[in-house]
Amino acid sequence: MDLLHNPEFLSRAQFGFIALFHILWPPLTIGLALILFGLEAAWVKTGKVVYYHQARFWTKIFLINFGVGVISGLPMEFSFGTNWGPFSIASGDFFGNILGFETAMAFMLEAGFLGIMLFGWKRVSAGMHLFATGMVAFGSTLSAFWIMVANSWMQTPSGVEMQNGKLAITSYFDAIFNPDLAHGFGHMFMACLEISLVVTAGVSAYYLLNNRHRDFFLPAFKWSVLSLVLVAPLQILIGDSAGAALAQTQPAKLAAIESLWHTNKPGEGAPWAILAAPNPAAQKNDWEITVPDVTSLIVTHSLNGTVQGLTDFKPADQPPVLIPFYGFRVMVAAGGFIAFMALTTLWLLWRRRERMQPASVGQNKWLLRGWMLAIPAAYIAIEAGWLVREVGRQPWIVYGMMRTAQGVSKISVAVLQWSLLSFVVFYSAIGIAALVFMRGVLRKGPVFEDPPHQPARHADIVTQPVVVGGGH
């Protein structure tokens, strides 16, 4: 195949593969870190050991994901230099600066307290441990913020101008708070919360379905679902407003998402295609199933608002259509399914209370299976969302300012084939290994050990001497 001898395609495939693999892991750890902080804070505040056990159990899931997330992200940073040298040189003033912030402010903070969070239970006080967990949660969220600043800027570059082949900064404020940042970061952060809550709900459902540790997992199931009742619909709202903003900032991407070739005439609405076979060569859909006016309604919130079609752009400036079009539909369907599950479960919790007790909850087989299914759905949504976002940005590496073809390093095809193959083989192996170990953690289930010490603020009401397990 010709593509496998095309250096630009190989570098894109390599970065795309690394990114799609990497994004499977950190969203869960970002969301779980906040959940763990909440559980640990509840333990410190109330002294109830159940919160401690919850925190320890979910930490195991956190840990596997954190390890794979950190190591799979390492090559992403270096990829900009190895494969995208001209882009790095041109955009270093801003893009490199932001990655520098991310590593020094956020990533280091997270790494600096991670050891204490994971291994420090017997070495520091409960309050100090809570602080370390908080710093890991704060660091990972801040990290996501800076990464999204950099990524949003590639989507809607502002505050810079092209001078002698370099993107020189005219305003840091405009470049950081670029038009896409609020939507981009908001949507990503919500995805982190949502995926984490779906995993806690789905894993709890797995135990409830198997009648294991029902008293432990029913509360976890409940707080996960109740949080999702807020988070899942909110995510849909943010996604909707992001779509409306896209019409202003990246109209070609929006047109690709809807496979809309022609701008609607004044007074008519743009139709919405449920399914379509886009044909870029002919600049039309070979066939489509459409609903009238709905694209106008979604994008402009009016039945005949103008939505730009792809033919407004030269074919050389049009993104590929197939992946954004179907990727978007898959993401929406998966997100809708999660919101549906949350609202249905809320209804059951309210109207069928007697069936949602520890003794009886396992009988809701379809509901619990649905929640287990929500886990892959959440991951599919996040992958599809990234494909839409990044493929839709093409053929630009910095939207409207620098083409992807201008940003790529000239590396020999043989070397690129070798490195792409290495990453595919290596990531597949660690992905499978991580899943096997995850299954091991789930089979083993929670361990109900006593905390190493009581939370500090309750130390004075403990009457029996605290057993210290002798440092090691």
Partner: protein, 342 residues
Amino acid sequence: MDVIALDSTHHLLATIWFLIIGLFMVIYVVLDGFDLGVGVLSLFVGDEPRRAAMMSSLGSIWDANETWLVVIGGTLFGAFPLVYGTVLHGLYIPVIVMLLGFMLRGVSFEFHELSTNKPIWSFTFGLGSLIAALAQGFTLGGLLNGVQVVNGVYAGGTMDWLSPFSVFVAIGVVAGYAMLGSTYLIMKSRGMMQDACFARGQWLALTMMVAAAVVTVWTPLQFPAIFARWLSVPNVYYFALLPLAALFSLVMLLRALKNRSEVAPFVWTTLIFLFSFAGLAATWFPYIIPGYITIDQAAASNNTLVFMLVGIGMLIPVMITYNIYQYVVFRGKVDPDNTHTY
């Protein structure tokens, strides 16, 4: 006049960032150096409990140590984008191999903890460490060899990083890391494990020093400009101080090993690294890509350098403080019978 003022500001800012990234590199090389070194040494240990204890001595800190490399990557990208975009391209193969090595050892830590088949994961941990350390040596060797840059674009070949010279640099880096690893384990262990480290330290120190001496002699022979720079009066007196200080540290290191001091060997090894690093930096300054690009040519705009200085510069003491705190929390010896779990 204006142009000169602007240039001197730019030079000052570029120099500050050169020093900051140099500081990060020293921190990184010492911390991840002992970390990788312990991994390399674990390949030569026969029994699993001892390998597990060696891994456990790093469990709580390896991630933070390695993060300094990520910080170097990020700050280099921001402050010297030209270096980032050309050197990593020129050294593509050793850099990718290094990343694969890091990833292999990174997952090994975790999977070792969770798996029932521990020997496999302690082996991949050692192998990944060795691969990463060797690849780092070749990266450094390749950089010193010369990364050919013409008009801001890498203009060399795919295999430029590989040469007899870079082989020596790679051997020196691996031996140096193993030395750091040994002296770290002397602090963190007792009994038989510690005895082995004392015994091994002698010849590791000599290997490291021979490799460093070869590199030091070879560099001026390879680059006439450096030959002239080093051996002109009065430069020769200043430059001679660094190898003399390194040699003195080596003597003190060997003595400390013989006296079975626990902390001193690590300190002296660190000093050897410090003097070698200062020697490299002083030899090439103001070049940042030896022979091709100076720090002024590679540095980002003044705006960016200032913005980064405000954002990152002030954080440096904070970063160092919480990293030290982490070491304080996990101070003390590793007990092979009671490795910590989460």
